[in-house]
Amino acid sequence: MTKKQHNFSLRDFLFTYGFLLVLLLVIVYFSVTAPSFFSMNAAMSILHTAAPLLIIASGLAFVIMTKRIDISVGSIAYLSAAIGALMISRMGLPIPLAVVSMLVLSCLMGVLNGFFVVILNVNPMIATFGTQLAFRGIGLLLTNSMVVSLPRSIRFLGNKKVGPIYIDILFSLFILLIMMLIHSRTQFGRQVVAIGNDISIAEKLGIKEKRISFFAYVVCGLMAGIGAIIMSLQVGSVTPTSGTSYEFTAIAMLVIGGVSLYGGEGTILPGVLIGGITLAVIETGLNYIGASVYVYSFVRGGVIFVSMFADSLKTQVKPKVKIMEDEPTTVSNAQ
């Protein structure tokens, strides 16, 4: 057990709760500058537009917690969405069959990433950069680089609401809840954290590092596939640019939400959710205040840089900082 610290430290407080403070500050700023921003409509819109990436980021979190990375999630989302759309629109196959195929295919892409990174020991950045290009290439080949529209009969699902709440918000929160339970309440989740904390200690404790890390990639692929379904329904089509740069947005969400790129730290709830909402709030807020189109990239880049810098600083003072956790996770809980 970690001994609790009773002396208040501003530095520790900022590192632990800093991302919540950032979110609050951003909300306050846009609420003051854009009169209609602080409203139920805007809140729903923020969660709605963040929904696909929240799911994708929750899968990616497992890989990053093992101190690895997967920069192919955007391409996994694109390829599975493209195949699903082709099956429905061009081949006229039943929607459930297309959905199942998308999910199976995205798992297989995760298997492939796991094989390259964990079994063949290829550097995760290089391996998933390769698969990022390859998966997108296959998608472009299959679609002939064209837009594939979804039938009008199912497009409405992307906007379907229960009361004032979009269905995809409820769905993404449900997925996050499941992912949180997997992360904090299952052996697999605890082992992922243990591997990220210290791989050699994890192995000494008997954790099958390769197997767990491999499955982290499969989970990541599956989540990219689920995110792809929501993404396609929202826009009503799949284009060759669908999912482009999702990997970096998802990584930014994770870092803002306190998932360390150095592995072993972070939470799905509230971490990933808060990270995702923070980015979506910024994007939506800029829309609301009618910001110059040139401001968007600058703000996005600035937020990502500050988050990465904070993550780096946090790692340097790690022993003193308690990360907000779903449940306390220690190496001793790993088995």
Binding site: T49, T284, N287
Partner: protein, 333 residues
């Protein structure tokens, strides 16, 4: 004597036949590298198909056989420069490129010039180098044609416009020109006020999110300018989310001007969702490119800038426009 006349006549007939059936000149094979920045929608495939088809049609009369070397940069300006360098290394005769970034294509133009290869910018003009020629449509005139017709439409219907502008990727010169034309007509004719400018980077997700946010932030908005309708399903979904996906005549209708008349835009215009737009021509521009290439190959004088104007489309005339690639089932989304 009779025999001589007969032989002479026979000779004349044979020579005439040879003259009639012989090719105009010796057949030339010309290698053209076509560098697409990306293939985000079917218009690009249509351009490619039409230029190959038209060149093939002309082959018997011109004696010019084109060999097309096509590459796609998937939206990456650096990759496009590399692709073009590959073409230079292969010693192609001409390079045709649709720039990903008008501001960086100049490096490729310079490299081609140094290798003695004529360079034609296609569709998107360069802002960073001087190509041998440019072929395309005038993005400024296109957007201006749409904006002027839209202003008239709003005035005719007594609408004081409060518009949302969904802009393209501002690295793309065409997107910049469309924004410029929209802003100028707004200032000149005063038919609307732009209440929100939304950047989309030509990404469907951003069309959707941006349109949805702008519609919610500006509930009194009654009109919209969509810089390109290639991913119009995103805009329709956003309209649907705020219960404003309604055709002309319906009280919920948002007046929409959208350029290009791509397949999704065509469908939306036929359904009365889009009120006015100007075509981004596939066939005419491809024809213009091949004609320009032919002139270059034959050493004939050619125009340095070759631009055509799009045609104004409305729900009333869109189904009657000829050579509209959106109506070709081959390019249906």
């Amino acid at each position: 004597m009779k025999k001589k006349i007969l032989v002479t006549l026979l000779l004349v007939v044979v020579l005439s036949m040879l003259a009639a059936f012989a090719p105009a000149g010796e057949e030339k094979t010309v290698k053209v590298c076509v560098s697409w920045n990306e293939k985000v929608h079917s218009l690009i495939q249509a351009w490619q198909d039409y230029m190959e088809m038209y060149a093939k049609e002309l082959e018997p009369t011109t004696g010019i056989k084109y060999e097309w070397i096509v590459n796609v940069a998937n939206g990456d300006a650096n990759l496009q420069n590399n692709n073009i360098q590959d073409c230079i290394n292969q010693k192609v005769d001409y390079i045709v490129a649709r720039a990903q970034d008008s501001g960086t294509i100049g490096a490729s133009i310079k490299a081609a010039e140094e290798a003695g290869i004529p360079f034609i910018t296609f569709d998107r003009a360069s802002t960073s180098g001087d190509p041998t020629a440019h072929v395309g449509e005038d993005g400024y005139l296109q957007a201006r044609s749409t904006a002027e017709a839209f202003a008239k439409l709003l005035k005719d219907n007594g609408i004081e416009g409060k518009c949302i502008e969904l802009q393209g990727d501002l690295l793309d010169n065409t997107a910049v020109l469309r924004h410029k034309a929209w802003a100028e007509v707004e200032k000149e004719l005063g038919a609307w006020t732009t209440v929100a400018e939304v950047p989309t980077e030509w990404k469907p997700e951003k069309f959707y999110q941006g349109a949805l946010n702008a519609l919610q932030a500006n509930p009194d908005a009654n009109c919209m300018y969509v810089a390109s309708d290639f991913a119009f399903s995103s805009v329709e979904n956003a309209l649907s989310a705020v219960d404003k996906d309604a055709p002309t005549g319906d009280p919920k209708h948002i007046w929409i001007a959208a350029d290009d008349i791509n397949p999704m835009g065509y469908e939306a215009m036929v359904n009365g969702i889009i009120d006015v737009g100007t075509t981004w021509e596939a066939y005419s521009v491809s024809v213009l490119l091949v004609d320009t290439l032919n002139k270059m190959v034959n050493g004939e004088p050619y125009e340095k800038v070759n631009l055509i104007s799009g045609r104004l489309a409305t729900p009333e005339n869109v189904q009657t426009l000829e050579y509209l690639y959106s109506t070709d089932p081959k390019y249906a989304d």
